[in-house]
Amino acid sequence: MGSVILANQYDNIEAGIVAVLEARVAAGAQISPKAKIARDLGLDSVAVMDFVMDIEDHFDISIPLDRVAEVETVEDLTRAVEALLKDKG
């Protein structure tokens, strides 16, 4: 039961991230969990940082820079957001 709720939360986070990302990438870009945010979706380093700020606002969290540095794919970001939301309680 608990794992179902957690799985749902993960999916909700991912859906939120994809929605924020769609507003920033070129139309037709393939956003998938394994998509690399900078390399595959065509965001330069400043655009990535601006996107991260949108994500922070969307989930009302701050993602410290060292955590941002570890993020490469949509999946990485989903896990980072999930962990930060969990810390927040």
Partner: protein
């Protein structure tokens, strides 16, 4: 695979940049004639991108002091501040800077970059929280990499976003340290320092302000934006440089906090590099004396800033609202900006070209910085060359469409 293959993207961007004309990162002046003129490829050009805000690089008193110092103390100290590299001149300069800012203590660093690197990375330790403006200078970002603290960026010049981020930290241990700049070096906008100081007071944090581009330029006594907006008491640390208004090289930090001098034995970018040579210490000391006593310099750079800003605004360029010594024409099309920069140089005006990702909001910038040493005639000449070239290349029409429909910040 070469060790350099990780830079393939940079290489191709750089090649496309230089194929359009000159290499903007490789300009070599044959001769510097004055703070406002140089010779490039045998031609005289006007300098409008040097950060030489007060035009003191050829100040006779500074030059004489510098030459005298070399004769007396030699060309270099060959050692760090904590070993053999502190002479009486370094100590005198530190007292003089502290006095200029009305603070108890000052530390002199070898560059402005190292002042930010050292102060910020050392103050913010493990478990502390650094909150930096998103448009911060590279030296602030590099300080964050060197620091063991948690790094949080707040939206550029957005005190509400800063407050929101501080609120998210409620209940967590550790100091909060806010970092912002007086005058931002790329767009020439100033920080909303009164509002940031209010957030700082309300939420409980330390505040560091980098006045690199505002010292000597803003405030009644030239102490920067904090003085100009009356919040010096809220600023715990001011960082600055000798390489702009003071016409040399070097950096400093000042504070009233009682244990500030402890930094001298824990701050690695201060401890593990050679100190400034006597000639630099002497010219900075002389130039600091000049700006502390000559109010006309600050008034002149401000009047010149307004003249350049008015000229470019009237011509129809997309520039910021504030008439500050840094003024940047914003261009959405990178290739247009590169062509514009090359054409301006061919027509005898040197400005700075700044391209994404080194710029905010993915904009390309033709950045000018004005000096107290510019004559009104030089400014008017530059404005007419910039306007004529901008009109011919279509920069003005590109700007006009953007001014009509401003992009959301």
């Amino acid at each position: 695979m070469s060790i350099f293959s990780k830079f393939d993207d940079v290489r191709s961007a750089f090649e496309s940049l230089t194929s359009a004309g000159r290499n903007p990162f490789g300009i070599r002046f044959d001769e510097i004639l004055s703070p406002t003129e140089a010779v490039l490829d045998g031609r005289r050009i006007l300098l409008f991108g040097t950060n030489n805000y007060l035009g003191l690089t050829f100040d006779p008193a500074a030059i004489d002091a510098s030459i005298e110092a070399i004769r007396q103390a030699g060309t270099g100290t060959t050692g760090s501040r904590i070993a053999n590299g502190t002479y009486s001149g370094h100590a005198t300069l530190e007292r003089q800077i502290a006095e200029f800012f009305g603070r108890k203590s000052a530390m002199v660093f070898t560059t402005g970059y190292q002042a930010n690197l050292g102060l910020i990375s050392t103050l913010a330790g493990r478990g502390d929280h650094l909150l930096i403006d998103a448009d911060s200078h590279a030296s602030i970002y590099d300080a964050c990499k060197l620091s063991a603290a948690e790094i949080i960026r707040f939206r550029h010049n957005d005190p509400k976003d800063l407050a929101r981020r501080l609120r998210r930290l409620e209940g967590l241990p550790g100091s909060r340290i806010i970092v912002t700049e007086g005058l931002f070096s790329m767009l020439g906008d100033t920080a909303p320092l009164r509002e940031i100081a209010a957030v700082k007071r309300e939420m409980g944090a330390y505040l560091i302000v980098d006045e690199a581009h505002s010292m000597g330029v803003m405030g009644k006594h030239g102490r920067g934006l904090a003085e100009a907006v009356g919040v010096e008491a809220d600023v715990d640390f001011i960082v600055g440089t000798f390489s702009k208004s003071l016409g040399a090289i070097g950096g400093f930090a000042v504070s009233d906090l009682p244990d500030f001098d402890l930094l001298r034995v824990v701050c690695r970018p201060y401890m593990f590099t050679a100190s400034l040579p006597p000639s630099i210490v002497a010219s900075v000391t002389a130039s600091l004396q000049r700006i502390a006593t000559d109010d006309l310099l600050g008034a002149r750079v401000q009047a010149n800033s307004r003249r350049l800003h008015n000229g470019l605004a009237q011509a129809g360029f997309d520039i910021g609202q504030e008439a500050n010594p840094v003024c940047a024409i914003r261009i959405a099309d990178r290739d247009l900006a590169i062509g514009f920069w090359n054409a301006l140089l061919a027509n005898g005006v040197y400005l700075n070209l700044a391209l994404p990702p080194a710029t905010p909001s993915s904009l390309s910038l033709i950045r000018s910085s004005v000096s107290a040493a510019h004559t009104e005639a030089q400014i008017d000449t530059a404005v007419s060359i910039i306007a004529e070239t901008g009109s011919r290349l279509g920069v003005l029409s590109e700007n006009a469409s953007r001014i009509a429909m401003p992009a959301a910040e």
